[in-house]
């Protein structure tokens, strides 16, 4: 029978890579996930633990896909600890993808928000001039800098890191650098994924300058396909209408950058 995207497909973890002391990449073979569009995600079942939405990470091998997980609560720690030879279940791919423009592109990411942005980098044209900004709290939490440089090897590009404590790269908030850079350079498009307040500021700054900007949102997810309603933001369902939205659409949404819903569906402030 043909694969049902909404029923878990079981995959065996083949390789584990530690990116930082709290971030890990799990690699597995699959027919579908290696070829998803940039920004798409999967619902990942950790048998006996939970199921979480995860952006689909690139891998450097044919027929293999990956997830990059930061351990946080019980569910993500459960996934982080899945060892080589153990199983996970995947549903999807779900969600839309980034609208890929040509020319001077700016990507702004923080933490595991870099996952969909790295896949986006594999879709840029050789002539595109690409700037990647990576934000982190401190040096030990910086990852994927080398990978971004490797993917962009043949492009005019720069990868800049900003840490809040100044232990690596520039000191400050990544959005301070966004402000500076979009004033100096006329970008064709800005793409962002990471903490919502970082995305909010990035969208606002880009929008003020009239630059096309898209952000990939996170909300509480259960079904991943537009049934349960838990991922709603205003009238949009992040799993089905997004996760990627245009900046002007987001700025018209009173919840973006301000509120999110808890597991019980109660509105809470960021």
């Amino acid at each position: 029978m043909q694969r049902d995207p909404n029923y878990p497909t079981i995959c065996k973890i083949e390789k584990v890579i530690d990116e930082t002391p709290s971030v890990r990449t799990l690699i597995f073979s699959d027919d579908v996930l290696p070829n998803v569009l940039p920004g798409q995600f999967a619902m990942v079942w950790i048998p006996g633990v939970n199921e979480l939405p995860m952006s689909v990470m690139i891998s450097h091998e044919q027929g293999k896909a990956a997830f990059t997980i930061r351990k946080l609560g019980e569910a993500s720690t459960g996934l982080y600890n899945v060892a080589v030879g153990k199983y996970i279940g995947i549903r999807g791919p779900y969600g839309n993808s980034f609208d890929i423009k040509e020319g001077k592109l700016l990507l702004v990411g923080g933490g595991t928000g870099l996952v969909p942005l790295l896949r986006l980098l594999t879709f840029v044209k050789p002539s595109d001039d690409v700037t990647v900004l990576i934000g982190a709290k401190t040096k030990a939490e910086v990852f994927f800098e080398d990978m971004a440089n490797d993917i962009l090897e043949k492009n005019p590009h720069r990868v800049l890191v900003v840490t809040e404590d100044g232990s690596y790269g520039e000191k400050g908030l990544v959005t301070d650098l966004v402000e500076k850079i979009i004033t100096e350079t006329k970008f064709e498009a800005v793409y962002t994924c990471g903490p919502e307040l970082m995305m909010y500021k990035t969208v606002q700054l880009s929008h003020e300058k009239g630059i096309f900007v898209q952000a990939s949102l996170e909300r509480m997810m259960k079904c991943g396909i537009g049934i349960c309603g838990s991922c709603c933001i205003g009238e949009d369902l992040v799993c089905r209408d997004g996760t990627i939205f245009d900046g002007d659409h987001l700025l018209a949404n009173k919840e973006f950058g301000h509120t999110f819903r808890t597991k019980a569906g109660i509105l809470d402030k960021f």
Partner: protein, 303 residues
């Protein structure tokens, strides 16, 4: 000529007979507005409880190979009071508020939270199959059903519907008790107890292990229940279970439903499904020369 799709479910009149089922996209007023604009005649909220509930851990929903869905969300909801203040600004959308509880006082408390909200009906969930002490366990307890409905009917002038499912008591008994207690309509049916086990990891997939089956596999059962209820009682019926096309909707009307609820098919076909089903019903009515939905309700019983 534009076909008139309006329908009456006892005391409740709706412009269109297609209703968003409870638990589907149902936690925000903005989403309700969107679904109403997309063609739904009314929306049913997620079932609300007295206190907020987080629900079960994921996995909570997945599909059945070959069609249908199994879910055990665990009735996660923000609680009646939070929800009431969220829908307070509502002016336009016909909202049916779904409630779950264990005793009649829970329902009394919850109904009072909605005193200043525009609500067109309440739907009492007597049939959620996967949460202890509420839902089906209440629907199976005929004494409790009677007490709850009498309390609720006392507490509000708004129409009240009871949603039934297939539990351990014959659902016909539950319907009979509800009708005697003064209910204004019956929603039939809820999901049916089901599970799926992954053969590689050898575990149930749902975190709650057992959940409720919805979607196309339960449609013939739901049609049978609607037909049986309409054959035995003079009570308006809202049909629910596996409706994904206009043909399904018409089948439910013919079985005796005055309106239909759409749940799982929203996941399969997205929000445009309301418009698609409305258009299909219109064309069928034109072909059969009906001017009102009511003309076809229960027609299959006469044959």
């Amino acid at each position: 000529m534009a076909i008139n799709l309006s329908t009456k479910i006892g005391p409740l009149s709706l412009e269109r007979p297609t209703i968003l089922a409870s638990g589907i996209l149902g936690i925000s007023l903005d989403v309700f507005n969107r679904i109403y604009k997309a063609g739904a005649g009314a929306v049913v909220t997620k079932s609300l409880s007295k206190e907020p509930w987080e629900g079960y851990a994921n996995p909570t929903i997945f599909s059945v190979k070959g069609g249908g869905w199994i879910n055990a969300v665990g009735l996660s909801n923000p609680g009646a009071a939070n929800f009431a203040s969220m829908i307070q600004p509502n002016k336009e959308v016909p909202i049916i508020v779904s409630l779950v509880g264990s005793v009649e006082d829970d329902f009394d408390f919850m109904i009072k939270q909605f005193e200043n909200c525009k609500v067109v009906a309440f739907e009492l969930n007597l049939s959620c199959p996967h949460v202890a002490k509420v839902g089906l366990e209440v629907g199976d307890d005929l004494d409790l059903v009677n007490k709850i409905i009498k309390t609720v009917k006392n507490a509000t002038a708004v129409p009240v519907f009871a949603k039934v499912g297939l539990g351990s008591t014959d659902y016909i008994e539950t319907v009979s008790t509800a009708v005697d207690a003064g209910i204004d309509g019956i929603t039939a049916i809820n999901t049916m107890r089901a599970m799926a086990i992954d053969i590689e990891t050898q575990r149930p997939i749902l975190s709650n292990k057992i959940g409720g089956l919805s979607g196309t596999p339960i449609k013939p059962i739901a049609v049978r229940c609607v037909y049986e209820i309409s054959s035995k009682f003079e009570i308006p019926i809202l049909g629910s279970g596996g409706i994904s096309t206009w043909e399904d909707a018409v089948e439910f009307f013919l079985a005796g439903a005055s309106a239909i609820q759409i749940g799982s098919a929203v996941g399969d076909n997205w929000i445009k499904i309301f418009d698609e089903i409305n258009n299909g019903i219109s064309q069928y009515m034109e072909k059969k020369r009906y001017s009102k939905i009511a003309e076809m309700v229960g027609l299959a019983k006469g044959s």
